[in-house]
Amino acid sequence: MADAVENKKNIAEGVPTVTLTIDGRETTVPKGTTVLMAARGLGIHIPTFCWHPKLKPMGSCRMCYVEIEKMPKLQVSCALEAMDGMVVLTDSDLVKRGRRAIIEFILMNHPLDCPTCDKGGECDLQDQTFAHGVDDSRFDFQKYRFTEGTEGSTFDDLRIGPEIVLNRNRCILCYKCVRANKEAFGEYDLGAYERGNIMEIHRAPGRQVDNPFSGNLVEICPVGALTNTDWRYKIRVWLTQTTSSICPFSSSGVNTLLYKDDHQQKIFRTTSRPNDDIDDGWLADVTRYGYQIATSPDRLQTPLIKKDGQQVPATWKEALEIINKRLNEIKDKKGRVCIGGIVSPSLDNATLHSFSKLIRVTLGSNNIDYRTQYRMLPKEPENVYDAMSARSFKISDIDDSDVIVAFGSDLVKEHPNEYLRIRKACNFHSASVYSVNPYRVKSADVARREMIYKVGTEEVFLNGLCLAAIEAGMAEGGDLKEKISPSTAAEAAAICGVDAEHLKELAAAMANGRKVTFIAGELVSRSRERLCISSALANLTRLLGLENKGQVSILPHYANSFGAGKLGLLPQPPEGIRNALTELWGAWPEAEPLTTDGMLINMKKEEVNGCIALGCNPVMLYPDREFARESLEKLDFLLVADLYETETTGLADVVLPLASWAEYDGRYINLEGRVQRANRALKPRFESKPGYEIVEAIAEQIGDKLYESSDQCEQEISRLVESSNVQPLPDKYFDVRPAEEESDEEYPIALFVGDDPHHSGHLTEKANSLFNFCGEAYIEMSSELAKKLDLKEGDSARVESKVGKIIVPVRISTTINNDVVFIPRNFSSTTVTALLMRKKRTDRVKISKVVN
């Protein structure tokens, strides 16, 4: 009775409840709860195989049998809704007998190959046979064995994807993998075939299980039917230790668990550490297999210094002495301001903050930026953009939003976990999803309405939404109408190339929605016109009052992008952060601040003579490859710290080996502003050092100790993070006048450059498993376009822009439009950024067939 009272308190007012008795204890749960969940709420464990907290119940394994009074037979508790007055027994003799029979039944065709099975030691079936099963077998016949496709081998393992091995004999047909693939990920490359004894889980005919979430299927498999090739036959699970960490590749800050050996030399795998506020326990493959970048033997081993044009290994002492000498030379020659600092937004808070202090206080320069991959102006205030990208955003609030708009974002590639959230909102809460993109994307498969606007008309579309809302009388426009062009929604729709009715429909949905989530992605943040787009978005937010009934944000892309903004690693940080930093440090450099773009221009003009690039690779990522390369070549002194040798380290005078995220304790701020910690799992490989130690060592060599202890740095960071709140949007409408962009007849096709679904940034190609998924760049185009150009899948295509050309193999996609192509930027073998121009808003290319 006490339980019932206690539970009732936790249920929100107005929710209908039911009261039932489980094992003699009364409990009250919201209507619609299953008996299994009600029992778990009381701390009563009911064993399951096929039940998963994030999937709809199926009841195929029948392990969760319970006895219910007045029901003649045992019931599956995972699929049975709790009813008022139910009396449930979870541990009666009948239930025990039922479970025993089920285990015996499952073991009928399950091979006894636990010694070779990778799941041994963490297998649900092992555990539950031990707990509930019988210890001898009554089975007299030969077990059924699937051998098709595995002739000549004593084991019946089939490789069904680049990283997944299927053993159909071990499968207990719980369908968890098929259901997760379908319900949670929207993929249909795995299915159940045949019936009865010969029923099997198998990939769809002619398909590979290579979707960007395929690693999860292995993790949720209760037996060893699906196993990973990276973990295959490497180590037994009881010989590993786990370290809790977070994903360094996504801005969501997905929680992970790293499995390492006793000596902290090697990571064996990554699994999820379910956090319902962030990831729901699903990991994208880039998170799951990305750990391999930390343990690859190709890592930089020692510092390198340039001697007579050649980079030779050196000790840390030598390298630091040279850094000190060269920085002093530049200082003597030009004064202090001519140093630039570019830093990767995937590094932890302590590194970013101490780097900021090194550049701003020790070196007295104001040139610091964390954005290497965005087009930008040499000097830009970016206030609206910063404000719009640092809104308060909650990933878990996507769940109960009824209107979700994904604007300018290829979610599967950029924010896989948010994509899964949106799918969930759609499947479980029937949210209306609107996908608004310049080309068709995979994530639009859940959308109620997909809108495709003309390339480069983002702000017109947003203006059109404002106008549509005003015209329909859904919002008071005030002076907004005079401040934006065009003047009618129909006109805007015509410019964007979308249906005016659809525009109206979306405006109405956003205006009338109970809770609206508006996500803008990389196509906004990478655009040269992002200031204009952010202003248009701010107008829309204010007009429809979206902040009051939901959330609007331009989502940052990298693990600590949000943190870098909060810690003021921008050339011109917002007023509040700037004041806080000045107060902490007692100084603020006088010099004119420059963005990455400004730094590169001034390097070319030889006005910036030294540069420190921490963990980033401007040559590969900056959207104008030749420009970045030429600029960096002109430098007197370039210091690069990175994990691997890259194009940028090739130009450097001193290269320092940087430790990966798994090798030190670091804190990261995810896109919600949540500070999370990644613990140290490994000893730093070779002679590498964590970023903050490198920064501290440089500062010490120059003669200015940054911090007495790491605590001091942490204190400064926590004060900064606490002091910087979400900026309120200004109480006015912004002028948004879209600029006309002239089209070029010679280069008709729009090029989009981004991440491959299995990669992120410039390092993941070093991870073997991810390389197996996708090992080289490709050009993704529609079949119609390919037909027009006389290209087939796998052909080499010559892609030319005004500034460069590359040759890449063709991949035909069913989801992309006819006038758009996509090339991933993650591969050092293909220099896709050579096609881009930093001053253009849209990249246009022409494509021809390579004739041998």
């Binding site: 636990c114 010694p115 070779t116 041994g120 001898d136 000549g152 081998s153 004593t154 084991f155 393992d157 295959r232 036959y233 490497k234 180590i235 037994r236 009881w238 010989l239």
Partner: protein, 167 residues
């Protein structure tokens, strides 16, 4: 004076008494063994140096499941698994540190593949510590061995449960 007299008595009377015991043993059967020419008979379940068994067709039985290492109370077993070209699991590294080993035989009891047995070899002294770490090459027998007391036990148990040998 008194002391001198006492010593004299010891020499004349007590010393021959003691020597008598020594002389008696010259005519008794010796307790020690003429090792290595002669050897003590061994108990039928004697546990000596380990060996790794093979199947009749010559392939290795050990799949490197790690249960022997898990069962080992002295933490003497170290192994690293690997995959052969057929996708079969086998041991890449299999080492037993004989200095740590207490020859309890838990490994052979734990082994689900009937791959490791404690043999009857006990003469494996070497002059270095490293020499006592036996690698897989040293442990793996070239041809399957026929008999051991433990194998007989396993056969009897199989008969009781009516289980055929796998493979």
């Amino acid at each position: 004076m008194k002391e001198i007299l006492k010593a004299l008595v010891d020499v004349i009377w007590k010393m021959p008494q003691g020597l008598l015991v020594t002389f008696k043993h010259m005519f008794k059967k010796p307790i020690t063994l003429d090792y290595p020419k002669k050897k003590e008979p061994m108990a039928p379940r004697f546990k000596g140096l380990h060996y790794l068994e093979r199947y009749e067709d010559g392939s290795e039985r050990c799949v490197c499941c790690g249960l022997c290492a898990a069962a080992c109370p002295a933490d003497a077993v170290y192994m690293e698994p690997d995959e052969n070209e057929n996708g079969e699991r086998l041991a890449k590294v299999y080492e037993i540190n004989m200095l740590r080993c207490i020859f309890c035989g838990f490994c052979e009891e734990a082994c689900p593949e009937e791959a490791i047995f404690l043999g009857r070899e006990y003469e494996f002294a070497t002059d270095s510590r490293e020499g006592f770490i036996y690698s897989k090459d040293q442990l793996l027998v070239p041809h399957p061995r026929k008999e051991s007391a433990f194998k007989r036990t396993i056969r009897r148990i199989r008969k009781i449960y009516g289980v055929e040998e796998s493979r």
